[in-house]
Symmetry: C2
Subunit: 152 residues, 2 copies
């Protein structure tokens, strides 16, 4: 099993960062505008992605596994690209100086495939969007996300 | 051993991307302005990083291990943060559609430490800077790089 792990610092209180990760409205502000479902433990959230031309280029369903205010949000993917199904995304939060530190983890990829390397770059782009959303009120969720290669 | 692996697509010919990775001038245009040394196999390159206030915040020395035009650049770190010493950075290039694809690898970290997660985000930032440099002629090398947390 291999993982993607990024560290991000956001100049905002824990509760603001937690809110952006733990609510459907928050997620739609930094990951993809088309986020629906219910962010409660045991319920599912659906995220859909589109090209700039408006074509759907992918979608995932994730079950919410943990919501611990100001500490942790955990999802498990139940539908989406086959490499994603069964993987977990975990956001762990703590404070350092004037920052809320986000430890981002996309855990349990079966192997080190090129698609994982693409997702590693894209998650970094979306972490920047999360920082932007919480610090300025405006993120860059899909389809307005920075495109990094021929896959998106 | 654990790795950082990112995938990037640059709308430019192989030789332009290779040049930005295989020459001291190229590296100084996307990673850090303070890049010196000789980019030849067996020789070393020195990179230094500064805060916006002008204080040195880190430096590394890397030995050039491979320079294969339009295919691969490989460095091994011989000095710098202790977690980096002995690790390799490898850039592998290939073409897909109108893109030169860069497979970025920072290989052989001893363990999954928080500093690796920081470097994973920073490498993504510098890959965006590389893309910007090759596509537009102007990157964002340190100290003008995007800051992502309380460590830089």
């Amino acid at each position: 099993m291999v993982n993607i792990i990024h560290r991000l610092g956001i100049k905002a209180p824990l509760e603001k960062v937690y809110e952006a990760l733990a609510t459907v409205e928050g997620i739609s502000g930094w990951w993809t505008k088309d986020t629906t479902g219910i962010s409660e433990v045991g319920k599912s959230i659906v995220v859909k992605f589109y090209s700039l031309q408006g074509n759907e280029i992918g979608s995932m369903i994730m079950e919410v596994k943990n919501l611990e205010p100001e500490k942790e949000v955990r999802w498990q993917f139940t539908s989406g690209p086959e490499e994603w199904v069964g993987t977990d995304v975990v956001f762990k939060l703590h404070r350092e100086e004037e920052y809320t530190i986000v430890m981002f983890n996309h855990l349990n990829w079966a192997e080190e495939v090129e698609f994982k390397a693409h997702c590693s770059m894209k998650w970094a782009i979306f972490m920047l969007s999360l920082k932007q959303l919480v610090e300025t009120g405006k993120g860059s969720p899909s389809p307005d996300d920075i495109k990094i290669d021929n896959w998106n």
